[in-house]
Symmetry: C2
């Protein structure tokens, strides 16, 4: 670890590179007492452009005095190559969880309620639809999105199963199941929601076995990363009618290419990675940066600290 | 009023006419202790076919001894011509409220979250979407659907306004507004949900003034009856961009004719009156009939009693 900088140095924060959210983040840092400086003079770096992850490693190599790096997203797989143990890394873990949880719940409800059919219809069609209320939902992951989703489900009377690495209790969940037993955890689920970090271990964690276990009318919802779902297994399950459908806010690759079968499948709904839109997310991100800059200056503990070994 | 029949006579119940839900209702009545008889021998009539409302008045004219009529739906405007004060009338008020409330919430979320765009897209599109969480929702009506919807919103942190005939308090609502002040109650609403009975007074209760008052991104959701919304005013508001869109489970007329502008409007989503599908609703209806038959036989009070003057 780089030696901890003194109080004056800690006040000197870089916010880079310029981006659409730059001004909001800068304002957040300043509100917390920061003096905004060039990265060469800074004790910490608030990385401001989610799309320019590839440049970060070079910036850090040239500026070893950076003691803390603030990353803009909750999922940091694009930054995995740059992670090191020489400094503190934070991610926006849980920061966007409430809008993302709302989107996940919307997708589950819309799928179960036949919206993939009805929104594309131009005439009165036959009844279809299944309830989520008083039904069964399985959530993969036990992070901020899951916490918020369980909160949104407060009035739904659902039986909630959470799948996590180690089956420690989760408030509001009726059952917690270890990651290796996730297929069993999906049994008869009306909805399966993917809301975890993408790591080598979680890649394709929803495959043939998990999809087969779900209720035949059940919908799988992905607000994690596209790589969590084995798309070949998904298309096979859709064609076999062994699930109700799939509602995907994330795909693999992303953007999903035009002409891909998922675009026009009658039982698939795609949203373009907008569970958390910039309009919803930038104010939440700026508030997170403001809290963390204040803590950094005060020598307190930061929120969203990343474990460089686990990768989240 | 017809004189109250004796205990033996009260046991004799007719379930007519034959329909898709006939067997389930018959089983519910029998489970409550009924002897199923022809309508000529019955003290009460469970009307079993929602589509054959027109025949009921004639049946009752020929069978004046019927002391109680059980109607299959919550909204009974199709039975208005037959209502009288010679006997007790019950409707399935609140019986289907939970699935309908779920559908209303789904439509509000899906509308605000851009699903009218995304579900019809065949390529990656620009971000759009607004939150309902921590937003403002206005519900027209204070019946069973509203009660259930407020329950489903428990974790959403919304500011909830309820509009009702008289502004008596509603549990869980932050504000209750009288029906005549409904336009003011829609001010800046992210979602306006129509969930009341259709009467001459409530016809077109959502018109230009109510739509204009909403937030520009706000969605109007109708799970009441098509006649509650002035469709000309709705199309004008959609064209002017003064609302975000409309999600309609009920239309006027119904079914909505092919080629109607609402089918293809980019900011409209139609579902074919399936907030409560037969699959969801028949078990709820049969359980309601079972409870009421048991109460009728025991001389107790029935649920869902209709006021023939108010018409609901």
């Amino acid at each position: 670890m780089t030696p901890a900088p003194g109080p004056d140095a800690r006040r000197r924060i870089a916010v880079e590179p310029a981006s659409g959210r730059f001004e909001a983040l800068r304002a957040g840092a300043v509100a917390a007492g920061a003096e905004i400086v060039a990265v060469e003079e800074a004790s910490a770096l608030v990385w401001a452009d989610p799309k320019r992850a590839g440049e970060l490693a070079g910036v850090l190599e040239r500026n070893p005095a950076i003691g803390w790096v603030s990353l803009p997203f909750a999922g940091i797989e694009n930054y995995a190559h740059a992670l090191d143990t020489d400094r503190i890394w934070t991610a926006a873990k849980g920061v966007y969880a409430r809008p993302v949880a709302e989107h996940a719940l919307m997708l589950a409800l819309a799928g179960l309620r036949g919206m993939s059919t009805f929104t594309r219809a131009t005439s009165w069609s036959a009844p279809e639809g299944h309830n989520l209320v008083d039904g069964r939902i399985t959530i993969l992951g036990a992070g901020g999105i899951t916490t918020e989703l369980i909160g949104l489900l407060a009035g739904f009377g659902c039986e909630i199963t959470v799948v996590r690495r180690r089956p420690d209790p989760v408030e509001g969940a009726h059952r917690v199941v270890a990651f290796d037993d996730r297929a069993e955890a999906c049994a008869d689920a009306d909805a399966v929601v993917v809301a975890l970090a993408l790591t080598p271990e979680t890649r394709h964690c929803v495959g043939a076995a998990e999809l087969e276990a779900m209720a035949d009318h059940g919908w799988v919802v992905n607000v994690g990363r596209g790589g969590h779902i084995d798309h070949d297994a998904l298309l096979a399950a859709l064609d076999a009618g062994s699930i109700g459908g799939a509602a995907l806010d994330v795909t693999d690759p992303e953007p999903l290419p035009e002409g891909h079968r998922l675009w026009t499948h009658p039982r698939v709904m795609i949203t373009p990675h907008i569970a958390n839109t910039p309009e919803m997310g930038v104010p939440l991100h700026a508030a997170h940066v403001e809290r963390n800059v204040a803590a950094w200056i005060a020598g307190g503990s930061l929120e969203g600290v990343v474990d460089p070994v686990l990768g989240y």
